[in-house]
Amino acid sequence: MTKAPSVSTTRKIKVDALSRVEGEGALDLHIQNGVIKDLKFRIFEPPRFFEALLRGRDHSEAPDITSRICGICPIAYQLGASQAMEDALGISVTGPLRDLRRLIYCGEWIESHVLHAAMLHAPDFLGLDDALQIAKVNPELVKTALRLKKLGNDILDVVGGRAVHPVNLKVGGFYKVPTKARVRELIEPLKWAIDASRGVTLAFGGFDFPDFDYDYTCVSLRHADEYAIHEGRIVSNRGLDIAVKEFPDHFLEEHVAHSNALHGMLREGEAAYLTGPIARYNNNYDQLSQLAKSTAKEAGLGRVVTNPFKSIVVRMVETVYALEESLRIASAYEEPDGSCVTVAPHAGTGHGCTEAPRGICYHRYQLDDAGLILRATIVPPTAQNQKQIEADLRGVVERNLKLDDEKLKWRCEQTIRNYDPCISCATHFLKLSVKRD
């Protein structure tokens, strides 16, 4: 057993190189006489300077270049950049091309949510190191999860050409629309998957969730007609309701000394906020499908979720929904006549925002007369969540001071993994170190 923490000593816990997150980050924790003296969540993913290197490049190159910010959520970048360019150039993508965009985004949600929930986060609730250990005790669960994840990737493949950094998306639409036959091949597997994902959701709903609740400021997109994924206005549960282009007026990014990532916050009160699955669920619950709502209820979720550890269940509920949406779109799909809306470049400024699996991802570009990028700003979800992650960690540590260092460390890691932090994205993110005095 690791030494029991005595109340009057210094405890320093260090988590160097956090596992089961995408990218690298660390946590330093200093506890003195049972009080948190210092808590720092650091991102040490080296900066890759996307906003700087985009300058001078043609607007048409932004989707493929920004995609390389993150291999787990390339669609968030490809679509966010495309929409910002379309906004700058005054065009909009509607009808079947819009449906195809929603379909491929559903593919990204499915692939990313299942990877995180089943393979990266579930082991924490079972006290296991990884999904391979789950495979030893419950092979069927892991096999089902892998099949679900693969189906998400198959959607990316059919619509986009490949699962990581698809090649078929562009400003204005697609290079080539997929054939009806290939899209229809998704239908049977999707029918299986809706049922299978419900099973996984209910299994995860039965986990023992650490006791912790937070009154979050939830920020998400909201769309008039659908559960927002790739379009909408930016709203919060505290009455915010703005157009995407107003994002900079209400949100700011602070560069804090201990991190390579920028911390997002609300301008008003410089407050932390939450974006991602729980924020979406809380803000847009009314727009989920009946099946997703009933699955949520059966899995033990209320109308509003305040325990961040339950994000694993919310991710699976969103997976059920994304699978249903995919089935709906695939079943109705007819090949459109054109693959994209073409644009003559001109000067302008455009904004784009979509719901990446981890939360809202905002892009802004300023273009010159020839359509070359003069300025680029990208605000990824993990950067926005970073301040809230620190707030959650504080709360969780305060409630768990009795745990020994090893257990406290794991609990902190689990808290961070609630956010499925995509650290590669946020650099523009973990090692845990706890010091107890």
Binding site: S19, R20, E24, P47, R48, F49, I65, C70, D130, G161
Partner: protein
């Protein structure tokens, strides 16, 4: 704990440097094969997938990402010392990645552009390939790598044969797949003639010119292609930028791009 038992399985480690995680994700993307792979090799160090960390030495190290910080410069040497076979995975590790665009720029200006406090940021002037620092036993191309190629390399290692990887150009993949040439038929700019095969003939089959994410093939005739692109109406900047993306620090692409600076 089971993970600490001595096992005869080869130990596999996956290391990350400056990258987007897309290439190591390709390993988790082998859904049909992942459990079978886990039967044959031990994931001794794979932070993106597991908390378990087993000490080296490692039989195979897969390295993703490029070297952009002094810490990374040091770490790659440590990893090399602990690895019997070191394989770079992807354009970042093999050719510096998209972040090597900074090699052409004033890095201090880049830092000031992105960060409010430039003094907090530590970065090297250039993004460099792993082979610029240590001996590399094998390279997998692509941004991202192709998972079939990754499985081929792991499979070949396990039975002790040479992996079967194509070394021809993307153009050849078009011919083999019967894809109509987008340059001849549609006048589109395409890097297929000078780009390493391996993606599975992706972009041209989507009516799009190859953008070179697998990097230069051996002895590419980049100047002949650049001349042809000029005839198709690309100006100097467009030609420069075409060679200056995910494999910008690969010598043939870098040299050609400099002709149009």
């Amino acid at each position: 704990m089971a993970a600490q038992k001595i096992s005869a399985k080869p130990k596999l480690a996956v290391w990350k440097f400056s990258s987007c995680d897309g290439c190591q994700l390709s390993l988790l993307g082998c859904e049909d094969e992942l459990l079978a792979v886990a039967d044959r090799v031990e994931f001794a160090y794979f932070l993106e997938a597991t908390r378990a960390q087993i000490k080296g030495p490692y039989d195979i190290s897969l390295v993703e990402g490029s070297i952009t910080t002094a810490e990374e410069e040091e770490r790659i040497h440590k990893i090399r010392r602990q690895s019997k076979v070191l394989i770079t995975i992807g354009a970042c590790a093999t050719a510096g990645g998209i972040q090597a665009l900074k090699n052409f720029a004033d890095v201090d200006e880049f830092i000031r552009t992105v960060y409010a406090h430039p003094e907090f940021i530590k970065t090297l002037q250039k993004s460099t390939a792993i082979a610029d620092h240590v001996k590399v036993d094998m390279e997998l191309r692509g941004c991202p790598i192709d998972k079939k190629q990754l499985l081929e390399v792991l499979g070949a290692y396990l039975i002790g044969r040479k992996p079967n990887l194509p070394d021809q150009s993307q153009c050849m993949e078009c011919k083999l797949a019967g894809t109509v040439c987008v340059m001849v038929a549609k006048g589109q700019a395409c890097l297929g003639p000078v780009t390493h095969a391996g993606c599975g003939n992706l972009c041209p089959s989507f009516d799009r010119g190859c953008y070179g994410c697998f990097g230069p093939k051996e002895l590419p005739n980049t100047s002949a292609l650049a001349a042809r692109l000029g005839e198709l109406g690309l100006d100097d900047k467009q030609r420069r930028d075409l060679f200056r993306t995910f494999n910008t620090a690969a010598a043939p692409f870098m040299k050609e791009s400099l002709n149009y600076d």
